[in-house]
Structures are given as structure tokens and as C-alpha cells.
């Protein structure tokens, strides 16, 4: 029997994601892709996968059938259990035939990636396997009873390994932003208020946008602009003054002024905040944003090293382990 994954349970918002559906934004197509690109890359590269299952706070349980599978998990600090045995938050596992892997929301973080080594038998739509539920492109969100076939399965590790991915650790440091593109729609006082505020992630946040609760930000020149393109991490201020941070499922264009954009190095950290959690922003300039991007993707590239469970994570043991092959393109 060919290798398959059985989804035994899936909360809402469990989807297939690859790096995103790019090249069609000119036709109104949302790129989608992972909420936390760094975690996605860590999981897919460790397992040797070309897409991953993005697991939300609702969790997921899956089982292997037909073969022992190579599975990597990385993302927020989820509660991960292999046949009931707790695993570290970032790990590479042999998922034996019939064995059960369960993920539940743990101490922190909102998204976790499960990558299966090999190729999932999913036809791309417009060049991508990324689910965009709103437009119906890509595979449907996963539900209990779904079966994912593997066209090819990668060899599993002999035993569970921890992945060192230090950038995945949560941090209270301010989320760094670059002001603009429409910062001139706000007075310097309003921008100062935006930067000084303590924000809270609103309950109605999803893959499309995170709602930020805090002081209302007032516009100097009205809240309507002629629609233009929108980047992931753009913080738009609609008419009610409540900021929306636009995430992976954003519409490709928008008609509200954008006061600032979260830098690439901090998008994953923003994505991993849960509704009810607090954050603040700090403005940086373009050179600082690029330096942070370089450091972030270098850490992603070097970081997903494997170590036996329980081994001391010394620099020496990390160096002794095989580095995961391939060079990351620092893609956004």
C-alpha cells in the first residue's frame, strides 16, 4: 500500500501551505502561503518537503499508513505528542505505520507546521498548493477523515530528533516596522501615539488580518485612498481608526491608508501572537530592516540543525550534526 496520512482530527483553520501563489496578484489572486515563513522553512527543509500542513490553535491529530514517514514539526510552542510521548516544539520524527502524532496549542504561539518528507499528491492550482479558503483556490481546509496521499516518501530518521530553531522562541521585543507607504496621511502626533501604544491582538483575527486593539488612530487626510498594492504586514487604518495588520490571506490591493509595514524578520513573530496577547511597535529604517532580514534568514538557514532528544545542545554538538542541505533563498 502506498504511503498515506490520515487526518483523525483537525480544528478550524488547518490548511495546506507552500511558499505562496505568486505571479497572479495582477489578476486579484491572493498569494496565501504560511503565516510564519521561518517556521515553515524550518519544517519543510528538515523533512525534505515541498509543502506543509499549517496547524492553528485548534490542533490536529494524524496517523501514518502504508510506511514509516519522515515528519518535521516547527512553529509556536505547541504541545506535540508522538504516540502520547511529548516531543520538543521543533522536531524531526519517524512516524511509524499506524503511529499517531497529535498537536495541541501549547504555552505560546498560534501556528505550527507539519511537513512530511517527500511529495504530497496534491495538484497545484495556478502554480501553488497553498490553500486560500476565501477564493477557493488550493486544497480545502483539512478535516477529520481526510486522507493525504504521498506520491513519494522521504526516508525517516531512525529516532526522534530535536531541531534547534532559536528564532522560533517567543520574545516580548517590539515588532519592528518601516513607516509608510501612507504615513503622510497621519500627523506626527498620531504616528507617535501609534508607536507609544500597547496593542492587543483582537479576537476576530485570522489569516487575512490581525485586528489591533488600542487607541483609535485618526487620519489627517481622510480614510479613503485610491486602491494600491498591499504587502504582507501592512498596517492599514480603516475609517474607525482600529489598525489591521494584513497577513498571508490579505487581498492583493486595498483602499485604506497604510501607516506602516512590519519588516520581514518580524512577520513570523507577529503571526505567532494569539488573540488577547499584547505587542508594541518600533520604527526602523530600510537599512536596519534589511540587516534584520539578512540575519533572520541566515539563522533560518543555519538554525534547523538536528540533535538527538536529550543531547546537550552545545555549539559543538550542533556543529557535529549534519546541517540541513540547501541554501535558503531569503524569500518573503
Amino acid at each position: 500500500m502506498s504511503a498515506r496520512l490520515l487526518i483523525e482530527a483537525a480544528g478550524p483553520g488547518v490548511t495546506i501551505q507552500d511558499e505562496g501563489r505568486f505571479g497572479h496578484s495582477r489578476y486579484g489572486v491572493t498569494p496565501a502561503g504560511p503565516m510564519d515563513l521561518g517556521a515553515y522553512l524550518a519544517a519543510t527543509r528538515a523533512a525534505g518537503a515541498d509543502c506543509a500542513i499549517e496547524v492553528s490553535l485548534g490542533g490536529m491529530t494524524l496517523r501514518a499508513e502504508g510506511a514509516t514517514l519522515c515528519v518535521a514539526v516547527a512553529g509556536g510552542d505547541f504541545d506535540i505528542r508522538l504516540e502520547g510521548r511529548p516531543m520538543p516544539p521543533a522536531c524531526l520524527l519517524p512516524l511509524a505505520e499506524g503511529a499517531r502524532l497529535a498537536l495541541r496549542a501549547g504555552g505560546s504561539g498560534a501556528w505550527c507546521y507539519v511537513a512530511v518528507g517527500g511529495t504530497l499528491d496534491l495538484a497545484p492550482t495556478l502554480g501553488s498548493r497553498a490553500t486560500h479558503a476565501r477564493s477557493g483556490l488550493g486544497p480545502k481546509p483539512l478535516a477529520a477523515g481526510d486522507v493525504l496521499m504521498l506520491a513519494e516518501a522521504a526516508p525517516p530518521p531512525l529516532e526522534p530528533l530535536a531541531l534547534a530553531a532559536p528564532w522560533l522562541a517567543s520574545s516580548d521585543a517590539p515588532i519592528r516596522i518601516l513607516l509608510g507607504p501612507q504615513a503622510d496621511y497621519f500627523t506626527p502626533e498620531e504616528i507617535e501615539a501609534f508607536l507609544m501604544a500597547r496593542w492587543r491582538i483582537g479576537a476576530r483575527s485570522d489569516r487575512m488580518a490581525y485586528r489591533l486593539e488600542g487607541p483609535a488612530i485618526r487620519h489627517r487626510r481622510g480614510h479613503d485612498i485610491v486602491s494600491d498594492g498591499v504587502a504582507m504586514g501592512a498596517i492599514q487604518i480603516p475609517g474607525d481608526g482600529a489598525p489591521l495588520a494584513l497577513m498571508a490571506d490579505r487581498q492583493p490591493t486595498g483602499g485604506y491608508p497604510k501607516i506602516a509595514t512590519v519588516i520581514g524578520a518580524d512577520l513570523g513573530r507577529l503571526a505567532q501572537l494569539r488573540p488577547g496577547e499584547d505587542l508594541s511597535f518600533r520604527a526602523v529604517d530600510w537599512d536596519q530592516a534589511v540587516a534584520a532580514r539578512r540575519a533572520y534568514f541566515a539563522a533560518v538557514e543555519a538554525g534547523a540543525t538536528r540533535a538527538p532528544l536529550g543531547a546537550a545542545m552545545s555549539a559543538e554538538s550542533l556543529l557535529a550534526e549534519n546541517l540541513v542541505g540547501g541554501v535558503v533563498n531569503a524569500r518573503d
Binding site: G23, H24, P181, V226, G229, I263, G264, A289
Partner: protein, 243 residues
Amino acid sequence: MDYETPRFLDCGESALSVEFGDSVDPAVNARVLALDERLRAAPPAGLRETTPTYRALFLRYEPLEISRAALVAAIEGLIGTAGVEASQPAARWTFPCCYDPEFAEDIGEAAALLGQTAQSLAQLHAGADYRAYMYGFAPGWCYLGGLPQALAIPRRAAPRGPTPRGAALIGGALSLIAASPMPTGWYVVGRTPERMFALNRNPPFLIAPGDAVRFEPIDAKTFLSLEARALAGETVARRETLL
């Protein structure tokens, strides 16, 4: 307003908006599309994707491969080689459109709000020449400028719907064709059997930003026969090359 030189606006460190003006205007949009065409013909290293909009070209790029300064210099070089951009469309599409109330659920309400009859609204809508400015909102949703002033109508305060696929909509000073059923605050004044987006057709998207668009009134019987052909994969809107 049409800026003499474009504004370069950072959208984070890996995207840039090149803004040519602040209004919905064919001349501004033509400059956006001309830059888009040149960048697509000879993309600088590190440029990932371009998205033309009404008055700005959105560029996604990899700043570890090309600096902002180098990207801006490349764009300025491309703009510098251009004369006055032609705002003439490259192609004109004619979309069959049925304005019968059974396919145009809001035509009576919109006509009443505009002080028109359903017949005069349909005549004005089908008599106008539209420009396809940009896509947005959802796949295949293409915004059309050129709506007669007499049909300019404020959008509903709250979205309703979902509107059927192929709905011809009016809202603000614009018209558009619904590519898929979605809730909107726009008014459904007609319906085309053509599909703006169909994965089982090559190409999946029909019209290009900058193209001209017209609507041709059809009766319900014609609608149903054209829709059957469209669903089988045929393109029932007509395309003429203008340039």
C-alpha cells in the same frame, strides 16, 4: 493629479509602490502600465512580481539581491526612456450582458436611487466605453472606469449578497463584473454569461489592465445559451485588437 515624477513609497523592506498620481485617471494608469510592461520585458535581478493598480505599480523584490537604490535607479532609467505614454487600449472586449430583472436583481432599486428607469439605466450602462484599470478584491474581479456620471451611486453601507458569478455591478464611479459569488456593497444591474476567471480555460483570466470594455445587451434566452457555451469552456465575450 498626475505627478511629474513618480513617488517611491516603501511597503516594508521588500516591496515598493511607484506612485504616478493620486486619482483614477487613464493617463496616470497608462504610465503605470507602461512601466509594468518594461519591467516585465527586462526584469532587474531581484524583482519578484509586479502588480499594476489604478495609479501605482506595486513591486515585490528581494532586498538581499537588489538594493532599493539600485531598483529605483533601474526604474528611473526605464521611465526616462519613455515619451508621453499612450493611454489607448491594446484591445477591446465586448461582454454580452442581460439586463432583465431576473438577472439584474438590483436594477430597479438602483434606478430609483439614481432617478432613472431600469431601461434608461441599462441603456446608459451598455452605451458606455469602459477602461479596465486593475484587478483586486478576489481573483478575476476587474475594476472598470468610464461609468456614466448619471450612474455614479454610493455603495451600500454594509455588503450584502453573495452576488452571482457574472453579475455586472455598479458602485461609486465604477463598474465591474463579479468573477465569483461574493458579498459586496455594489448594485447588481446586469449579468454576463462570460466567466472572468475559469481554471478550465486557457488563459484563466481574460482581460488585461488597460483594455477597453463594452457591454452588449442580450435577452434571457440568449443569456442561457451563451452561458451553456461559456461553462463548456468557450469564450463568449469578443476581443478586438486595437493597436
